[in-house]
């Protein structure tokens, strides 16, 4: 894999969806590295969807909000749809009071629902009840 600068956050590919997440300790440098890595992966993996899990974020300040909005716009310009999933309820309350609505950023309650919105569904296997992911389309 040709990953020039790593933000230390894994970016996994499932079909044409990239799955990743933000860590609590996001600083300017790792935000820039993450943005570059993710946009490069969208192109190289021909991704059409990106799931960004933020359930580990204890706060979202205006810096993280700006990062999420910019990532969403960049991905859209590259033809990929971003869904930000798993925001904690206190974070949602604080963001609104802060005056930030993450305009233009699609959200989902959790990673599972975010993946469903991107076309992935979870189903019960008839034999043994094993959970399996499959792709509709």
């Amino acid at each position: 894999m040709n990953v020039p600068a790593s933000a230390g956050v894994p970016i996994l590919r499932l079909g044409d969806v990239l799955v990743t997440g933000l860590l609590n300790e996001l600083d300017d440098k790792s935000a820039v590295a993450f943005t570059e890595e993710l946009t490069a992966r969208i192109t190289s993996d021909r991704a059409r969807g990106v799931l960004i899990d933020i359930s580990r974020l204890e706060i979202v300040d205006s810096f993280v909000a700006r990062t999420l909005m910019e990532l969403t716009t960049m991905a859209r310009l590259l033809g990929a749809r971003v869904i930000v999933a798993g925001m904690r309820p206190p974070v949602a309350i604080t963001l609104v009071e802060l005056g930030l609505q993450l305009t233009g950023v699609e959200t989902a309650l959790n990673a599972e629902q975010g993946m469903a919105a991107l076309g992935w569904h979870q189903s019960l296997q008839p034999s043994g009840g094993v959970l399996r992911e499959f792709r509709t389309e």
Binding site: K29, T94, L98, G99
Partner: protein, 157 residues
Amino acid sequence: MSSARSSDHASGLGTVVRDVAEAEGSTSVHQVRTEEDLLTVRHAVRAATVRAGFSIVDQTRVVTAASELARNAYIHGGGGTVTIDHLMARGTAGLRLTITDDGPGIADIGAALADGFTTGAGLGHGLGGARRLMNDFDVRSAPGQGTTVIATRWASR
């Protein structure tokens, strides 16, 4: 030197200054010189909110406000200090954040507090947004004389 002060009168606590006591031995001072310092400040403020018995929503409000204000001091003020004080007023715990920098200062505090005002790369919600997350908010600044923000939040009951 100009200043702007706001107080959340719903609680009524912020205005009763003489009843406010600083809990003994409960002041901590943190330098903001690097990006890593911003994370250190967040951790220290989080620990203080937990110690003060704040709810998870109040914890999140205060840590977010501290993050905005410390980042302002770092980016616009060229670094500064964050002082955390534990307060007690009529049985209610509070936290006071004092963020000081020796940067260029703010010429028009009223404009700086308005949403959408930005001289940097942020979203322009830092100062005004942080004010909404706290009960009391006081900005003192003048061109060439740095900026001091004093912000207090009381535990919700």
